[in-house]
Symmetry: C2
Amino acid sequence: MMFEALRKYINQYTSSEISEGAFDTVSKSFTPKHLLKRQFLLQAGDVCKYTAFIVKGAMRQYSLVNGVENIVYFGIENWWMSDRESFTMLTPSQFNIDALEDCDLLLITHDKVQLLKESVPQWNKMAAQMDHRHSIAMQKRIHDAISLTAEDRFLNLIKSNPEFMQRFPQNMIASYLGITPESLSRIRKKLAKK
Amino acid sequence: MMFEALRKYINQYTSSEISEGAFDTVSKSFTPKHLLKRQFLLQAGDVCKYTAFIVKGAMRQYSLVNGVENIVYFGIENWWMSDRESFTMLTPSQFNIDALEDCDLLLITHDKVQLLKESVPQWNKMAAQMDHRHSIAMQKRIHDAISLTAEDRFLNLIKSNPEFMQRFPQNMIASYLGITPESLSRIRKKLAKK
DNA sequence: CAAAACACTTAACAAATGTCAATTCTCCTT
DNA sequence: AAGGAGAATTGACATTTGTTAAGTGTTTTG
């Protein structure tokens, strides 16, 4: 059952198991959604109405500038996807979010997130931890981007998210690293020699 | 008075003015600290015990790898400085934070931050907004880093933080942009011609 | 199944950035 | 005010990365 993945996830972030009543409130706040590969959760110019919890599948968030895709995030099972800026400020997004595989998602609106924060302490705690982890991950990524070579960023990605290598095509990995597919191909060739 | 800067800051982020009683609780949680230029708030290897509110002065957060400084953040008046990961997880930091000018700071520990979140609703609201703005700023920076040339990142920085140009030496601006001082010098020369 | 679309690699060349060294300039300290 | 340290610039050269184009292999889809 789709909601069970969410229950597990919430319990991971809280010391005690969430009560049936509280989880009921939580699960009622979400809408299940199936997304086929290449379908969009968000298109640039629209407001990001939903944050998605990925029960199954994989997604990406990217901008499109002069016909070039720049992938900012990947998301897989048990990750959240949304453009936070657009989602909370209700401003038009500059990003697209689409499915890289068929996805089972649980969608929630900003209003419902706020309500849950006020009414379900365990949800509030989880949301805070989520935000915090997200901050840390982004700080690491900024540090990598300004201080490492493309080769080292690639090696770091293999270490931190090895599953990405199996799951996403190399041109997307390259985009995520901020380089061209040709550069990544050369880097891989060079690394293979060692 | 140092605390007045903090009061103004909090009021910016909340619809109503913070009460005297609540502000008293807040201000009691901070310790004033004067830091001379080049003094450290945090040294790599230590746990980041304090988050600093900068009343006056300027600071930077940076890593030191093979003798090369990589500046992750600058901070000026009314900004917060800390290594969030180390501060909340109480793990040793890989970053240094030091003063680029003589600074007037207000320091707070993690414990006190938690207490304020629970006891002062206005503080809690402000903290949430702070985290959120920080997230957005970091997302922009990641997007810039992976999708823009050094020249465009520099132009963006001039637009978004023109005060940095007057205030920080170019070798530090270069480090913040993830390039060498020589590269920045050449980029500036090229831009001057236009 | 066949055609088309896409992903990956390779090569040649261009452009951007890094490295090293020398020079000048500015600012700080004594 | 003089000397010295650090900051910025410049030039020559190396390295990395981007660009373009071609070729091969794989996947998708009608």
